[in-house]
């Protein structure tokens, strides 16, 4: 680890402002669960005044969504996210990693294993999972009691055919533009329809598309869990793969993966590893774009949408994914695209940019807190009176669908890209 990393959080002056914005603190109301507390723990560890041998360190440093709401509000730009990730590497060293996360890291590290496990899942699907329909978004429940996920939890569905299997490595276009797609595991294996929508839009715009088959998991979930060396290996593979691919932009419809590649890869090589790959990581970073950003700023999509209608009128509200909004800085673009659709009535909900409580493995490790945070989000969505909630992230989609389901709401949950595609085709949502 590079000593410079501590400069990213040592600007903290312990003012306490972060207490007023942290979604976890709002539920827990105690100092171990807020940015100021997290930063203090890593600082005291580095000073040698403290060690993480106490089991509590797992909870204190695990229970952070890495939503960066605190970073955004901190007048001193203290990077609590880096503090927490760094601290987690120390916690892992002492307490090890929970078995399910080890398996997750193993499975995610190799595309073949991942493909196989999903295929197995598919094979035994009806035995292990129960499909749940007529909910805010189709998903599955686990049939058997198990130590990792609760039986009533609404999970991602498993697609019959993965996105990467479904599409060829390149799709021609007449336009001079050329993009590559990094699809991300959730869309590849589960919400494949989001990937379909992305390809349809690109086809409509006549843009040439490259879909490299050898892309591997971005490593985000592994990195956020503090298993940085494992994430680094994946980062190197993706960097080497994409540097060879000529494309104006690399579109990633999954803000968590986009953040991992755009923001975290350079950090991995700047702070946690030798920086031989730093320049390459930075180069790749520059090309990574969220589709809504690319479509709004680099194409004519907004004008095309102005003449398009959904089959039926809908009122829609929008939830800002933390990674899309804060890490990638994309806030207005998706809203503008949605508003362009003629018979779509856009309603801004209260606190649209507050975290939904998913936080990746956070929702597995701390389900109760995660659901409390989700409940606030669901309430704001319901109060908006919209019939559909749109967001740009699979993690948010899953969490919001579950939170709405618990509230017995039938408001449907869609990805921005899906709504745009439906409007282009004149279909219903």
């Amino acid at each position: 680890m590079n000593d410079k990393i501590s400069e990213s959080w040592d600007s903290c002056v312990k003012c306490g402002i972060c207490r007023s914005v942290c979604p976890v603190f709002k539920e827990e109301k105690s100092e171990p669960f807020v940015a100021r507390g997290h930063i203090t723990l890593i600082q005291e560890l580095i000073k040698g005044n403290l060690n993480f041998s106490d089991k509590l360190s797992k909870e204190y440093l695990g229970k952070c969504l890495l939503c960066t709401t605190c970073v955004e509000s901190c007048p001193n730009n203290a990077h609590t996210d880096l503090a927490v990730i760094t601290a987690r590497t120390f916690v892992n060293k002492i307490h090890g990693v929970p078995l399910y996360k080890k398996i997750m890291a193993q499975v995610m590290s190799q595309r073949k294993v991942l493909d196989l496990s999903v295929r197995m899942g598919n094979m035994f699907s009806s035995f292990m999972f129960k499909t749940v329909e007529n909910v805010p978004r189709k998903g599955v429940n686990v049939r058997m009691k198990n130590p990792i996920v609760e039986k009533d939890r609404l999970l991602l569905p498993i697609s019959k055919r993965t996105f990467l299997n479904k599409y060829p490595e390149s799709i021609n276009g007449k336009n001079s533009k050329k993009v590559a797609v990094f699809i991300g595991c959730a869309v590849n294996y589960s919400y494949t329809e989001v990937g379909d929508a992305l390809i349809n839009i690109l086809k409509t715009l006549n843009i040439e598309v490259i879909i490299p088959k050898n892309q591997v998991c971005c490593g985000g979930p592994i990195y956020y869990a503090g298993m940085i060396d494992k994430a680094e290996k994946l980062a190197k593979k993706n960097i080497e793969l994409f540097e060879k691919i000529e494309a104006d932009a690399i579109l990633i419809p999954e803000p968590t993966c986009a953040t991992a590649i755009k923001v975290e890869y350079p950090r991995i090589f700047e702070y946690f590893s030798n920086n031989k790959y730093l320049e390459k990581a930075k180069k790749l970073s520059e090309r990574v774009r969220d589709p809504s950003d690319y479509f709004y700023n680099d194409t004519d999509l907004i004008n095309i949408l102005k003449n398009k209608k959904l089959k039926k009128e809908h009122s829609v509200t929008y939830h800002d994914s933390c990674h899309l909004n804060r890490s990638l800085g994309i806030k207005q673009e998706p809203r503008e695209l949605l508003k362009a659709i003629e018979n779509l009535n856009f309603i801004e909900m209260k606190d649209a940019d507050r975290c939904c409580g998913n936080g990746g493995t956070f929702s597995v490790d701390f389900r109760e807190t995660s659901l409390k945070i989700g409940k606030r989000k669901a309430q704001n969505i319901i109060n908006s009176t919209a019939d559909t909630v749109v967001t740009g992230c699979s993690g948010c989609m899953m969490q919001i669908a579950e939170a709405l389901n618990i509230e017995n709401s039938k408001i449907s949950v869609k990805h921005t890209i899906e709504v745009i595609d439906k409007a282009l085709r004149g279909e219903d949502l």
Binding site: S11, V13, K14, C15, G16, I17, R19, S20, K29, S30, E31, P32, G37, T40, L41, E44, N49, L50, F52, D54, L56, S57, Y60, P75, N76, N77
Partner: protein, 458 residues
């Protein structure tokens, strides 16, 4: 050995909410002064009864006990400088009773000031005390420090809005003081004695607060000056023309620069000082007063920009810049002596000029900003912690600023309190007889000196 016994007793009372592991103790060892003193036990209480039981235990075993809100204090009041129990009230955050007819509300002490404002807003009401830290400080902390904010010019400070309290004494006795009566002169005014006592006399568990209707209209005005004295004099000019603004805030050159660096607000580059003025009242009254202020400013040649916020959003932008100064100062240097001196309003120009003179003499950055409307200035003497010469110079500068402030009839602290950071100067200001009286009062309330001991010279 007693520690173990005390821990066991509190543990049996609070269960999981009583902590004594190293990690948790570190989390409750600091406040916004950035100093660290570890408590031996952290007690996360949820109701008055628990507070009372814990005080009985602390009193019996003579263990120091320090009440704590959200730890945003600037004078070290919430620090367990001698270990003991950290009594954290953050989980006591409920609104107990809203008495709309009497315009009063009973709240638990751990409620955050801003959460109360949010509760009151739909009723067209507000709680006037508005420390810059209102989003991250508790009513209990506001009461203990008698916190004040920008609106103090017109609406006063915390003490003007508290009608009664539920307090717990050192021996665990739960007491109600004050009442809902606007007029009530039966006996000593214990409520006012507790306000500003920094957790040394009793623990506040609930407060009966007065609230006020939100005015029909308000306007925020920003005036930029090319000279600092002119800004200070404008404050008196405005007040002398029979306008009482809600607030008159003052920001000096270095503060303007740090905030601009941090937030990119785009202040004029040759700005030497900024006044932020807010006026409220009926629609007609606000319009009239804003015109009056504009006329006053037109005559003043040192004004380089004058702006009235057109809407809520613009007003917020102006205020965010002001509220962000204090926490962004670290950009200038990593160390600061943060003082909140106050002088009679008419002496403000003298005090500000003297501060600049002292800064020049010691070759230091001294950033001044604050509540000019009530003579309260936040003086931040900046230094680098790895530079011993600067540290020495900063201390000298602070002595000189305090001496001059007292000479003008001012006070060493307007709102942050004495705590540990200012106790060495207290006697100089109030005199030894006052200190003797303080000690006697403390003894009457807390004979064993367990409540927040060794703060405020007690």
């Amino acid at each position: 050995m007693y520690k173990n016994k005390v821990y066991k007793k509190i543990k049996s009372l609070l269960g999981k909410r009583c902590l004594n592991d190293k990690l948790s103790k570190v989390q409750y060892s600091y406040d916004a002064t950035q100093k660290m003193y570890s408590p031996d036990i952290v007690a996360l209480v949820e109701n008055t009864n628990e507070v009372s039981e814990i005080l009985k235990i602390a009193n019996k075993y003579k263990v120091p006990i320090v009440p704590r809100g959200w730890g945003s204090g600037f004078s070290g009041g919430a620090l367990n400088i001698e270990g003991g129990i950290c009594l954290s009230l953050e989980k006591m955050d409920k609104i107990v009773e809203f008495d709309k007819d009497n315009l009063m509300v009973w709240v638990e002490a751990g409620l955050v000031n801003y959460d109360l404002q949010e509760f009151l807003k739909p009723y067209g009401l507000f709680f006037p005390p508005d420390p810059s830290s209102w989003k991250f400080s508790t009513i209990g902390g506001n009461i203990a420090e008698n916190a004040g904010g920008p609106r103090a010019v017109k609406y006063g400070v915390t003490k003007n809005w508290v009608n009664g309290l539920e307090i717990v004494l050192a021996d665990g006795t739960v007491l109600n003081v004050g009442s809902k009566n606007i007029k009530d002169v039966a006996g000593y005014n214990i409520t006012d004695l507790i306000i500003g006592s920094e957790g040394t006399l009793a623990v506040v568990t609930k407060a009966l607060l007065r609230v006020h209707p939100i005015s029909d209209d308000k306007k925020t005005i920003q005036i930029v000056f090319n000279g600092i004295r002119a800004a200070a004099e404008m404050v008196n000019n405005i007040l002398n023309s029979k306008i009482i603004p809600t607030s008159i805030e003052f920001v000096d050159k270095d503060a303007i620069k740090t905030v601009d660096d941090a937030l990119n607000v785009g202040f004029p580059k040759d700005a030497e000082a900024i006044l932020i003025i807010e006026i409220d009242g009926g629609i007609y009254e606000v319009e009239e007063n804003s015109k009056k202020i504009k006329r006053l400013c037109e005559k003043d040649k040192s004004i380089i920009a004058f702006r009235v916020a057109k809407n809520e959003k613009e007003a917020d932008e102006i205020w965010i810049a002001r509220r962000s100064i204090s926490p962004t100062l670290k950009r200038i240097a990593d160390g600061k002596l943060n003082e909140d001196i106050v002088v009679p309003r008419s002496k403000l120009p003298d005090m500000i000029e003297k501060t600049q003179e002292i800064a020049k003499k010691h070759n230091l950055y001294i950033v001044s900003f604050g509540h000019a409307g009530d003579g309260n200035i936040h003086t931040n003497i900046m230094y680098h912690t790895d530079n011993n010469k600067e540290i020495e110079a900063a201390k000298k500068a602070m002595d000189e600023i305090f001496s001059f402030c007292l000479k003008l009839g001012g006070s060493i602290t307007g709102e942050h309190g004495v705590g540990i950071t200012k106790q060495d100067y207290l006697e100089k200001q109030v005199g030894s007889d006052n200190i003797k009286l303080f000690k006697n009062i403390k003894k009457a309330f807390d004979p064993k000196n367990i409540l927040n001991p060794h703060k405020m010279r007690l």
